[in-house]
């Protein structure tokens, strides 16, 4: 279940963030999304917040939580599992 969700998330992130040169296989489950990992930035963080709300109905009430939630694909998937409506 978690593997399927992570795979789906990778596809959605590639589309939403226009990561045209990347394939799902290029994104590891546990590599950092920001900084040295995938190299995402603050605008991408806003895009990910919209993605969670639009695709999973999850609103992040406290923006400070974003740092933990968007750490890796796995942390995102765990957060979705725990909070999806």
């Amino acid at each position: 279940m978690m593997t399927e969700l992570m795979d789906k998330l990778k596809g959605e992130i590639i589309t939403q963030l226009n990561l045209e040169d990347l394939k799902k296989e290029d994104i590891s489950d546990d590599s950092p999304l920001f900084g040295d990992g995938l190299g995402l930035d603050s605008i991408d963080a806003l895009e990910l917040i919209v993605l969670l709300e639009k695709n999973y109905g999850i609103k992040i009430a406290n923006p400070a939580d974003g740092k933990k939630i968007f750490q890796t694909i796995r942390t995102m998937a765990e957060y979705i599992e725990a909070n999806k409506k």
Partner: protein, 354 residues
Amino acid sequence: MEAYIRGTGIVSPQKTFNTHDFLTEPVEYTTNSLRCIEPVYTEFLNPILARRMGRIIKMGIAASSICLKDGGVPIPDAIITGTALGCHEDTEKFLLAIIDNEEQFLTPTSFMQSTHNTVSSQIALQLKCMNYNFTYVHKGFSFESALLDGMMMLEEAGIHNVLIGGHDEMTEKHFKITSRVGYWKEENVPTMEIINSKTEGSISGEGAGFFLLSNQKSETDYAKLLAVKMIYQPENQKDVQSEIIELLKEKNLTPEDIDCVMYGISGDVRFDDIYYNLQKAVFGNSTSVYFKHLSGEYQTVSSFAMWEAAMILKTQTIPVCILIGENKKKEIKNVLIYNTYMNTYHTVSLLSKC
């Protein structure tokens, strides 16, 4: 008020992003909508940044980079652009998202990239250039407004060089909408035969043309820009002709001094007589050239014409693919560009050999 054209950079439906090649292999299309031949953007942009940019932003950044490199100026004293449609593709994306998602879940990227001044601001961000930055959005006068501002800045603002650009893109949706009001030909005409077309509508185009203007002469300048004029909805063609003659007088020139006239002939039977009448009445002895069969029609197309004019003056050659009739002059000293967008916006630019 004059300025030297020191550098050029242009992305168009022709292979123009190599500044040394002057239409040696013109590309012929058989379609009523021309798209730009785009360079490999990784040469100009970090791929991480490029992924967020729409096509026109990337075209603008590439054209401006080529231009600055060509002119040998890493950071200009001002960046001024003209555009009628701005970043149309991203504007469409953002507006469609508003409708599709019932005004919810709006993402920041298309919003940030959808404003008309995104190209000039992205160029500034790339260059870390904090100087004067302005974008003119005046339909068929957009590019000329940017030129005029640039020339005034060089005259009065105590600066030495200005990056000027004109850019517009065509999208599928905008093409469909403007087709419905008769802007474009219903049939596909080979572009090299557009001059003989007797039907209504032209072929749509797009492009990004940038110029580095300076108030200091250098040995590598392309040409000198002497004057720019805009005429809005003239009452008749004689008014335009008088305005052009008056402009020449201001520069101590007569029609006889104009060696080459570049006409915005678009194959639209409603408007092309405007050019032929000017040719017959005023510039019968000048060499005639046209350009929209290579670029298509768009509001800032005169930036493409200005590139051709600058190249003609620098290389002293006129490619056969843009000639109407024969080249009547051995030396090209003065070139006049005359264009109208839908017979509403009439623009004139005068350039001379350095």
